[in-house]
């Protein structure tokens, strides 16, 4: 067994022992199913609790299944990203702070194995979480609203997962270069949300941006096809992920690991 496998197994065991493997997916499932439920019952809820004046005609078009799932993804884009980043912020920094990263690296472990095992661990939890949460959301939507074509679901979640992989890779990077967990989360969130905002404002000029993946996700859901410039965005996102990983490994090598 290579050292990478040993380290990856340690990552997974740790996630089981600290319940991360349970609570992060549950939160995503809840975020995912509450949307179809509240869309479905919205008219009744308004009716019961809204106290609308007598005779008001509710002009609320029932949303389509695609609309609901779009809304779910947008919730994942805000709260979901926040939770993923917060749960991953200490991935390297906490181990550097406690000194245990030094205890690992004092053994003949390649620096790349350490960082890549962390990355694989983050990818595992992120993808499990996204797929389970989104599947639950899809199930509820088809139960309460209407069935959305599976192919669209599948394609959209794949495209969306690229964005989340980008987000956790960035978290890993900042966790490697900084020491305070809070700072890591703050900077990552700032960069991620900043990039999203700039991408949606500049639109056409930002087709290469990883944040454009979220827009393609929506397009696939609504029309079955990603928007124009998907390939460009896809390639640059993958390229950025690779570059950020290599940079993380190189920077990790330079860090002083034993106190």
């Amino acid at each position: 067994m290579t050292q990478w496998t040993v380290l990856y197994r340690k990552e997974m065991t740790e996630m089981v022992r600290n319940y991360k493997i349970l609570w992060v997916p549950i939160v995503f499932i809840l975020l995912g199913v509450m949307q179809p439920v509240s869309s479905y019952y919205m008219p009744e809820i308004l009716d019961t609790f809204g106290g609308l004046p007598e005779g008001t005609i509710l002009e609320m078009p029932t949303p389509t299944g695609e609309d609901v799932l779009m809304q779910v993804l947008s919730n994942y884009g805000m709260l979901g990203v926040l939770i993923l980043v917060l749960s991953a912020m200490g991935v390297v920094s906490a181990e550097r702070q406690s000194g245990v990263a030094g205890m690992v690296m004092i053994k003949p472990v390649p620096y790349s194995s350490y960082i890549l095992s962390k990355w694989a661990g983050l990818l595992t939890i992120t993808l499990i979480t996204l797929f389970i949460g989104y599947a639950a959301s899809w199930y509820y939507t088809s139960l309460l609203i209407e069935t959305v074509d599976f192919e669209r679901i599948f394609q959209s979640v794949l495209i969306y997962s690229i964005w989340l992989v980008f987000v956790v890779t960035l978290t890993l990077f900042f966790s490697t270069i900084m020491k305070g967990n809070g700072g890591v989360a703050f900077v990552t969130i700032f960069v991620v949300f900043g990039l999203s905002a700039v991408t949606s404002i500049l639109g056409e000029n930002m087709k290469w941006s990883p944040a454009a993946m979220t827009e393609h996700t929506g397009q696939v859901l609504l029309s079955g096809e990603p928007g124009s410039g998907f390939l460009l965005g896809f390639i640059t996102t993958i390229a950025i992920i690779i570059v950020v990983l290599i940079a993380s490994i190189q920077i990790f090598k330079q860090k002083e690991l034993l106190e």
């Binding site: 349970l22 609570w23 549950i26 939160v27 809840l30 439920v37 479905y40 939770i83 917060l86 139960l143």
Partner: protein, 67 residues
Amino acid sequence: MNVSLNEIPWGAIAPIIVLQLILMITALVSCIREEKTNGPKWMWILVILFISLLGPVIYFVVGRRND
């Protein structure tokens, strides 16, 4: 103005409640078994019990010491 119990769609709501409960219990178990939390333990227990969904999440993110 009043909703009768029968009208509540239990089939759809029950799994949500169950998941919330699992989340809460997991957080409680983790909190109680933890040697030390960031901040007083009793406060975290209250947070987990009385702030639904967000309480356990906040506990897991800031209450646990990660080592």
